[in-house]
Symmetry: C2
Subunit: 249 residues, 2 copies
């Protein structure tokens, strides 16, 4: 009898920001394929399970996607209950869609368990709501880089007037900011970068669009981080804002 795969969102980092549904699935897991960015504290929910690390470790490259897919399918075909534990939400920049397709095509049952995405939780942790009636109609989540080097249509995104939340944007932050300024985004638009939001290692800077790359550099912020651009950043808590003053001084 074939097993099953759960594609589970582990949330943004804080181990308490996982759902009850995910915990219940972890308790039934026979094997867990875990990404590098997932908090290991979550494995306490599944002491019975075998754990396979499939993320980047040290300087090594991450496990290729097709290898992960094949492993999930092989284990489930053997009848095992497989949990694929991914950071954030599996369906928001998590490649969960691709993994789901591969599992379905192999005729294996797959269940998606959503997770709290960093793009909402990291700003919230310093008091920034990604939407607010006074400021915007909505929020757009984009990735800062793509494998083929294509860029989002920054001009359209700026014209859209939504809060902009950028995932995986730290590596090319200066280029992204240059593009956004050229696309007409205000240089003094409030901007924040939040590294490892909701974890004990969280750090952030709150600045303006034009000043963000220098502020990030000065504070030594690195990936993984979430970038938030929009008037809503004005609502950041004073404790977070004080870092801006430190940077500006």
């Amino acid at each position: 009898m074939a097993g099953k795969v759960f594609l589970i969102g582990a949330g943004p980092g804080d181990p308490d920001l996982i759902t009850l549904k995910a915990v219940k699935a972890l308790q039934t897991a026979e094997v867990i394929l875990i990404d590098d960015l997932v908090n290991r504290a979550l494995l306490a929910h599944a002491p019975q399970a075998r754990v396979v690390e499939v993320g980047k470790r040290g300087g090594c490259k991450s496990t290729p996607q097709h290898f992960i897919n094949r492993m999930m399918i092989a284990l489930a075909t053997q009848g095992q209950t497989v949990v694929r534990l991914k950071g954030g939400d599996p369906f928001l920049f998590g490649r969960g869609g691709e993994e789901m397709q591969a599992i379905q095509q192999a005729g294996i049952s797959v269940e998606i368990v959503p997770g709290i995405t960093s793009g909402i939780a990291a700003p919230a942790s310093i008091g920034i709501p990604v939407t607010h009636r006074e400021f915007t109609h909505g929020v757009t989540f984009v990735t800062g880089h793509t494998q083929n080097g294509e860029k989002p249509d920054w001009q359209a995104l700026v014209a859209g007037g939504t809060t902009l939340v950028i995932y995986m944007g730290m590596k090319y932050l200066s280029a992204i900011v240059t593009d956004l300024l050229e696309a007409g985004m205000a240089s003094d638009l409030p901007a924040a970068a939040i590294q490892q939001g909701t974890t004990d290692q969280q750090r952030q800077v709150v600045s303006t669009l034009a000043a963000l790359p220098a502020a990030v550099k000065q504070e030594g912020l690195e990936s993984p981080a979430i970038i938030v651009l929009g008037e809503v950043v004005r609502l950041a808590r004073q404790e977070a804002l004080s870092e801006l003053i430190a940077v500006a001084a």
Copy 2:
């Protein structure tokens, strides 16, 4: 000694799609202010708490926002631990930002606990990932109506090329679709409407942009529902797609 307010996201409807952090806060609550759309099963985590209903019931209007704010502040000022339990995520179209500001301005401590938003979980429940590398750079979440009658810049949002997820769009669905067609969105773009996603009462239609209003009407779908527009809707599970065939037949 002043109390505290937790602004908590109850998630999309499935009572297991709440976080451990939210459950722990519920266990400490002395009073809970609960919205109408929140699943009452969640109150089982807080048998000790007094419950105040502040959402729409029957034909009555919802409790005015300023009254909710005043009640939270008054209770916390009396030293109580207050949980404000809101559907989805408090910071994504939840007015959580406004409530946070009011509580902070009163000098009361406030903690935000993110929740799973329906705009991600409802599509996921029928196999739709809001992003997928093959189809789009990102996803935009907008509201279909605003109190002052202003509209999102549909033309810019269409040009942006992200998946479009519309909250509170059912009432003006026909007008929104007309606007989107005028803004250049393809009439045959895959489109879905998902009512009460992740609950036992979930229903959905999968269709195309131009055909969505008729499909929604034929199936009798109503608010609260999430509308998803984008190529990613092609990944909807066959069980969900069969309803499209029923509608088209």
